[in-house]
């Protein structure tokens, strides 16, 4: 039953992505992008990644759509959506995808408990985190305690991205003021 749900949701996701290619209107592209994120959040719930689903629903469907819309409002509404070099792009992409799909024949099946991903460090997290860290949510335990250094780096990246955005967008206003003087 779960398999059918996942296949159905993944197919919906693929259809949404294909629809984005053929859209002519920028606003509908942004809204489809939002739907795409929400669908992937649902898929994450079915695949047991509840924490990820939370984040994807708030970020993908909420904040990033708002950012796209406000950037769209600034850049002007008369955007022409054109495609060029369709054939070259299609051939390149198909070749890449075909090579990758051929490579999946070596992959362990989804959900296989003996796959290499499940047998190394994950077993330690699942068995020991209760006694070593003492909190029930393993994702939080790994995020903040086992891989705390990693997370510190990620927070620094987010902070740096904010600095970059403020530099790019706010410096322009000051230049404008200089010009007016």
């Amino acid at each position: 039953m779960e398999d059918i749900i996942i296949i159905f949701l993944l197919s919906l996701l693929a259809i949404t992505a294909i629809a984005i290619i053929f859209m002519r209107n920028m606003l509908s592209v942004i809204m489809l992008g939002s739907i795409y994120s929400l669908l992937s959040a649902v898929i994450f719930v079915v695949l047991d990644a509840v924490d990820v689903a939370f984040t994807e629903a708030a970020v993908g469907a909420g904040i990033s759509s708002v950012l796209f819309l406000s950037a769209f409002a600034v850049t002007g509404k008369r955007q022409v959506l054109k495609q060029k070099n369709k054939l070259i792009a299609f051939v390149t992409v198909s070749l890449t995808a075909a090579a990758l799909i051929y490579a999946t024949s070596d992959m362990p099946y989804v959900g296989d408990p003996n796959a290499p991903v499940q047998t190394h460090v994950a077993a330690r997290y699942i068995e020991q985190s209760g006694s070593e860290v003492g909190i029930p949510n393993m994702v939080t335990a790994v995020l903040a305690s086992y891989r705390g250094f990693d997370t510190l780096g990620e927070v620094a990246v987010v902070f740096t991205a904010m600095i970059a955005v403020l530099l790019l967008l706010l410096r322009r206003e000051e230049e404008e003021l200089d010009r007016e003087k």
Binding site: S70, I135, V139, T140, S145, G148, V158, A161, V165
Partner: protein, 137 residues
């Protein structure tokens, strides 16, 4: 959109719930799905909704751009500070075991403060990015 009464009333019903849920996700993240990253984006989306409905001037009275910049830096500093604190107490960087007498209690405190730092940074980064885009003309 600002003058549509339906959108305005529904949003005013929703915003307190979103903010409260953000706090719940932040402080209950040890026991249920949640944590600093999720809480940060949920809290920020509540405030962004307020800014969309009431305009940026009113939103800045609640959470000014200056406050966002200060909080984003202090969240990162809080995170790194916990690491430095555990170094001063004689353990490795970000090893929370020494933060309290009992190692498990120490882990608990460490995770609490680290997640708080993450939440502060993520909320204020998302807000100041949003402000930067809406300010741009």
């Amino acid at each position: 959109m600002k003058n549509n009464p339906v959108i305005k009333q529904t949003s005013f019903l929703l915003i307190p719930v979103i903010l409260l849920f953000g706090l719940y996700v932040q402080f209950h993240g040890d026991y249920s799905p949640g944590g600093g990253f999720q809480a940060g984006v949920i809290f920020a989306s509540g405030l962004i909704l307020y800014a969309l409905i009431e305009g940026q001037a009113k939103a800045e009275q609640v959470f000014s751009m200056r406050l966002a910049r200060i909080l984003s830096a202090s969240g990162l500093l809080l995170y790194a500070g916990i690491g430095v604190a555990s170094m001063f107490l004689g353990a490795n960087f970000l090893d929370y075991n020494v933060l309290a007498d009992d190692p498990l209690q120490g882990q608990h405190w460490g995770i609490f403060w680290v997640e708080l730092g993450v939440g502060l940074t993520v909320t204020s980064v998302m807000l100041s990015i949003f402000y930067a885009f809406t300010n741009f003309k």
